[in-house]
Symmetry: C2
Subunit: 428 residues, 2 copies
């Protein structure tokens, strides 16, 4: 048995997940960890804490799957039903499990707590289960085989689940013939839409191999392209696809893995011993926030200016009052002076300056909502561009902040080609 | 038919959800919105983009449910299968829908984009569907009845789904006999943990009525408290609970509904005709970004300073070099001067200044990671406080930015009481 012919299903239980009060991140964690063994999750069912519904799902899923992971319902309260349901479906009794009791005693002792009845409920488990240690919490995990299906029950508290997954993965790896480790390759891009990327690939690479699965994840601001292979023997094919995408998307690729645009910019600055400053109007501090979210950003980012009002552009950055009066704040001359002023006041080597109309108010026929002037470069060479990116306010801010970072990335890499979004987002 | 005897199921599709690359927040959003009509979600199934599996699930779910909401698979790429699957299960053809084409043309025109084949795929829909407008994105939603089940197909992009849910809710409300409209009351809080809030309520309000369901949604930085009633007759009881919570949590309640902290601060400033400036070190522009994300923020926010490096605190905000050398950047005297400098340079009436150690590097035994000095107030009266909030970098930035905004909110409201987190997050 290898990872990808193992049929895996997840059963998630909890009223707080069904009501939407809690966003389920556990199943994503389980899936990501399983993917390390090239195990894919086939199907996932979520239901509330209802006895009959849980019995029905558990029975149906165990009949189909080789591995069923149940998450949630291990806690001390009356609506925690997993042990009871598993016992009923397996046709075995519930009994106090000595190993689970010992775990509870230890857990309480470490916390100076009395072991109470509610806690002890967590040691009442279906006869015959194998215990899975919970290094953090009071509820142990447990495992039972139903027919041909391994059923593994895990706690709903995210930290406890995370702590338990290591030993579950070890146990699964032991069951597999050829556990695969690095089967996914991710490329981070900026400035490509999902449909554009798909169209470009369909047009340029009609012979895309079946064995390399292509996936897109459109986030804001970045889009991830994912190349997944099932077997290690497809790795050379995966590499060839990666090179073909490099030729196709070239300078729109920021990096591999989980690289963020701000991270890449900081890395390039650090390599050059250079610093960057920001002069932000419509993005309101978002560019500096994206930069300073990255650990160690202080190496290359020392100062940012949020000059939201016109008089502040003048008083703080030295933008000419004439320029503001004659051309308006959203103009080439103003962003250029913002960039220069920010570099002068901070001593930084590079600057990004932006001034635009984020909306929903403030648009005019000449400068509609979504219009923005960008300036970037060093004191000796500042470039400017007007774009029109008319989307909802916070998405506009995100995309424009990223575009500013992207232009600095391109400058630092010496990329002369204009990005595709310059043509697509041209202001009228 | 009323909301709570409608049988509702959700079918979620997307390889990125199955692989765990994306955490599904859409189903939580759908469930929360449906709960406004007292509609509960009964069961939720998630599968990857696989034709046969999707057909099987859709058929089985539509046979059981009164309402089936499908999320995902409406995009322009080959792995977007929803329209194709629904047509196959309904036994109808796929055809170009004129209304969807018109929507795509408009959508592209507004963005200066060429309509391409990949986009046009999004207009190929099962014959007989009713279109649901997508106010943001290119993919329209659509609806078809299968047997006794309304099947509603929605986009996987969270913002587009959110934008579409209003009209879906309106349509569902029309189907119900007694739509409950205001059965949920939400309170936004800052500075309370979920377990603390739960404990305080258990202790102070042991007679909490069964008819008012209490829920918590811990986000960062805010926590929402939700009071849900099933029937309009419980509304007075709900009001009484709301008043009891007001007594209990008082100044930790920011507002009702979806009020954001930055929104509340801007509203209070606007009411007073006052302006606010920011002087940020460890939060790196996040406070100004939180403020400027709110439409109309330019009324009350004109300027922000990101002074990340020590010499910038001196050169841009006039912080004394002696103070920096003697006390260090993370000190009371420095944040006080940062606040004063920012007000002087911007002419603002109020300021927030923060300087701290976000980590993971930079901590010392005296000032460990998580240590932060805050200053806030007006030129005549600046207050300061040192907190220690040792959490992961970006969560630290989020919580500290929010704490700064919260202190301005408290100042503007004349609240003298210290928030609970001052005691809980006291620096050593």
């Amino acid at each position: 048995m290898t990872g990808h012919n193992l049929k895996v299903q997840l059963l998630l239980t909890g009223n707080e997940i069904m009501s939407g009060d809690t966003v389920d991140s556990n199943s994503a964690l389980i899936a990501r960890r399983l993917s390390e063994l090239a195990i894919g999750v086939h199907r996932k069912v979520t239901v509330g804490d209802e006895v009959e519904l849980l019995k029905r799902e558990l029975t149906a899923m165990a009949a189909e799957a080789d591995l069923l992971i149940i998450n949630g319902g291990l806690g001390p309260t009356v609506d925690d039903l997993t042990a009871q349901i598993l016992a009923a479906v397996a046709g075995v009794d519930i009994e106090e499990h000595p190993q689970a009791v010992a775990h509870l005693r230890q857990w309480c002792a470490r916390r100076n707590l009395q072991l109470n009845d509610a806690n002890l409920k967590q040691a009442m488990l279906p006869r015959g289960v194998i215990i899975i240690d919970n290094p953090i919490g009071s509820a142990v995990g447990f495992e039972l085989t139903l027919g041909n299906c391994r059923v593994i029950c895990t706690p709903g508290v995210p930290g406890e689940l995370a702590a338990m997954l290591d030993s579950i993965l070890d146990s699964l790896a032991g069951q597999l013939d050829h556990p695969v480790e690095h089967n996914i390759l991710r490329l981070q891009t900026f400035g490509l839409g999902e449909s554009t990327a798909q169209q470009m690939i369909s047009d340029a690479l009609p012979d895309w191999p079946d064995r390399v699965q292509l996936g897109f994840r459109a986030g804001a601001p970045q889009m991830e392209i994912k190349l997944t292979i099932d077997q290690a023997t497809a790795a050379p094919l995966q590499q060839r696809c990666r090179e073909q995408l490099q030729d196709l998307f070239g300078d729109h690729i920021i990096g591999e893995g989980g690289t963020l645009l701000a991270e890449r910019v900081l890395q390039l600055l650090r390599e050059r011993g250079a610093t960057l400053t920001t002069a932000e109007s419509c993005t309101g501090g978002l560019i500096s926030s994206m930069l300073t979210r990255i650990p160690g950003s202080s190496d290359a980012f020392h100062a940012g200016f949020v000059t939201y009002a016109d008089d502040i552009k003048h008083s703080v950055l030295g933008v000419g009052e004439d320029s503001l009066a004659e051309q308006g704040a959203v103009s080439e001359v103003v962003v250029r002076q913002m960039a220069l002023g920010a570099m002068e006041r901070s001593g930084a080597d590079y600057a990004i300056a932006v001034s635009g109309i984020a909306g929903p108010g403030g648009g005019t026929p000449e400068k509609p909502v979504g219009t923005v002037w960008l300036a970037w470069g060093d004191p000796g060479h500042i470039r400017t561009r007007c774009l029109c990116w008319p989307v909802e306010r916070s998405l506009f801010q995100t995309m424009i902040a990223a575009a500013g970072l992207d232009m600095i990335r391109r400058t630092l890499l010496g990329i002369e080609l204009e990005p595709r979004y310059f043509a697509q987002r041209r202001a009228r």
